[in-house]
C-alpha cells in the first residue's frame, strides 16, 4: 500500500526541532489556459489558503502563466513511495497488449 507522504516535501522524519514554526507549505497547481489541466508549478509558504492563493498568483503567474490556480496543503498529499517502485507499478509491466502497437494489421487496412 502507499504510505502518506507529502509529494515533494521531505519525509516527516526530517528535523522538526524547536525553531519557530514557519507557515505551512502549500503545493501550487496552475492551469495555463482553458482546455489544459492544472499542472504542478511549485510550492510556497502561507498562513492560510486565501494567502496561499494570493502568494501563488504573485509567485507563479507574474507573466500571465495562468488562468486558474489550485493550492493544496503539502501535508495533505498522499504519494506512492519510491521504495516500492518495482512492486507497485509491476502489474502494468507485462501487459503490452494494452497498447495499439501490440497488434499486427495487414498493409492496406485503413482507419484502424
Amino acid at each position: 500500500m502507499t504510505t502518506p507522504h507529502p509529494a515533494e516535501a521531505p519525509a516527516p522524519t526530517a528535523d522538526t526541532s524547536a525553531r519557530p514554526a514557519d507557515w505551512p507549505l502549500w503545493e501550487v497547481f496552475v492551469r495555463s489556459r482553458r482546455g489544459l489541466s492544472h499542472t504542478h508549478a511549485g510550492s510556497l509558504h502561507a498562513p492560510d489558503a486565501a494567502m496561499a492563493l494570493r502568494n501563488a498568483r504573485d509567485l507563479y503567474t507574474r507573466r500571465s502563466e495562468g488562468v486558474s490556480i489550485w493550492v493544496v496543503p503539502s501535508a495533505e498529499v498522499t504519494a506512492s513511495s519510491p521504495d516500492e517502485k518495482d512492486s507497485f507499478f509491476e502489474p502494468a509491466g507485462d501487459k503490452p497488449y494494452r497498447h495499439p502497437t501490440f497488434y499486427e494489421i495487414p498493409d492496406g487496412v485503413h482507419h484502424l
Binding site: H5, A9, A21, D22, G42, P47, D48, A50, R62
Partner: protein, 317 residues
C-alpha cells in the same frame, strides 16, 4: 532514522549512481548520499540568498529611476529576484531544510551569498551594468543548471533562466541609451562597466585548480562545466556586445587568440575576491544589516497573518 543494513545502502547507492549516469533526475524522496544532499543544500541556499540580497543594489535606484518606464521595469526586475529566491528556498526545502532555518543562517552569517552584491551601485548606469554583466554572468552559470541532476533545482532554474533573460536585455538597452546619449552619459556608462567587469568575472568562482567542490559536483552532474570554462564562454559573449554598445572592457590584455578560438584576458585579482568573501567588501555589512532589518520590520506582518489564519481556523499545522 531507522538503521539500514550496509548491503541495502549499497543497493540504494547503485540505483542512485545508475540514475545519475543515465542522465535521469533524482527526485526528493529518492535515496541519495548524505554528501549529495548537503552539497545541494549549500549550493541552493547560497543561490537563494544571492537572489534575496541581490534585490538591494538595484532596489536602491527604484525611487530615482529617470522615467516611469525605467521605474516600472526596475520594480518588475527586483520583484523577480524575490520570486527567484522563493523558488530556490522551495527547492532546498524538498531536501529537508526549511526556509526559516536557511534565513537564520543567512542572517547570522553562517551561509553566504554571491560576493558580487557587496559592491555598491553608485550611479544609474550601474543598474544597466548589473543587468548586462551580473545577470549575464548569472545566466551563463545557470543555463547548465537547468540540466542539474536534482529535479526540483533543475525545474526552478528553468523558470529562473526564462525570467533572467529580460533582466539582461533591459540592462543592455539601458547602457546603450546612455552610451548613445550626451558625453557625460556615455562616460557614466563606461565608468559603470569599468567597475563591474572584473567582479563579474569573479562570479564564476576560483580557477579550476583551486576550486574545492568542483570535481565531486561534476561527477554528480550538479555542475556541468568548470568555472574557467564558463568564465571563458562569458568573456567571448561579452566582447562583441561591448563593441556594439560603443564601450570598452577595462582589460588591456584582451586579445583574440586565433589558435584557441577564444579571447585571451588578463589576470583576475583573486586577492580582492578573497577579501570581499571574508567580509571586507565595500557593502558586506550594509547588505546583511539591511536584510536583518527588513526581516525584523516584517515580523508584525507575519504575526498578523498567522493570527488571522488562526482566528479563521485555517492554520493546518
Amino acid at each position: 532514522m531507522t538503521t539500514i543494513a550496509p548491503e541495502e545502502t549499497a543497493a540504494r547507492e547503485a540505483v542512485f549512481d545508475a540514475t545519475v549516469a543515465a542522465d535521469e533526475r533524482i527526485e526528493p524522496r529518492d535515496w541519495m548520499p548524505d554528501a549529495y544532499r548537503s552539497t545541494l543544500v549549500r549550493q541552493i541556499a547560497q543561490h537563494a540568498h544571492s537572489e534575496i540580497i541581490g534585490m538591494q543594489p538595484e532596489g536602491n535606484w527604484i525611487t530615482r529611476a529617470p522615467s516611469l518606464r525605467r521605474k516600472a521595469i526596475l520594480m518588475a526586475k527586483v520583484q523577480d529576484e524575490a520570486g527567484h529566491g522563493l523558488y530556490l528556498y522551495s527547492a532546498a526545502e524538498t531536501l529537508g531544510t526549511g526556509r526559516d532555518e536557511l534565513l537564520d543562517k543567512l542572517h547570522s552569517g553562517r551561509q553566504k551569498y554571491s560576493s558580487i552584491f557587496n559592491y555598491p551601485t553608485l550611479t544609474w548606469a550601474d543598474v544597466g551594468a548589473v543587468g548586462w554583466l551580473v545577470d549575464g554572468a548569472a545566466i551563463t552559470n545557470q543555463v547548465p543548471l537547468c540540466r542539474c541532476s536534482y529535479g526540483p533545482y533543475a525545474r526552478a532554474m528553468v523558470r529562473i533562466c526564462k525570467e533572467e533573460s529580460f533582466h539582461q536585455r533591459q540592462g543592455y538597452e539601458l547602457l546603450l541609451t546612455l552610451s548613445r546619449g550626451t558625453e557625460a552619459q556615455h562616460a557614466m556608462a563606461q565608468d559603470a562597466v569599468n567597475r563591474w567587469w572584473w567582479p563579474s568575472l569573479m562570479m564564476f568562482g576560483p580557477p579550476d585548480d583551486e576550486s574545492s567542490h568542483s570535481a565531486q559536483s561534476m561527477a554528480w552532474k550538479i555542475k556541468r562545466h568548470s568555472n574557467d570554462e564558463l568564465r571563458q564562454r562569458f568573456v567571448d559573449i561579452c566582447v562583441p556586445q561591448a563593441e556594439a554598445l560603443g564601450l570598452t572592457l577595462p582589460d588591456p590584455d584582451l586579445t583574440w587568440n586565433d589558435e584557441r578560438g577564444h579571447w585571451d584576458f588578463g589576470p583576475i585579482d583573486w586577492a580582492e575576491f578573497r577579501e570581499v568573501l571574508k567580509g571586507n567588501g565595500p557593502c558586506n555589512e550594509q547588505r546583511i544589516n539591511r536584510r536583518r532589518q527588513a526581516h525584523e520590520e516584517g515580523a508584525w506582518v507575519r504575526e498578523a497573518a498567522a493570527a488571522h489564519a488562526a482566528k479563521h481556523g485555517e492554520a493546518t499545522r
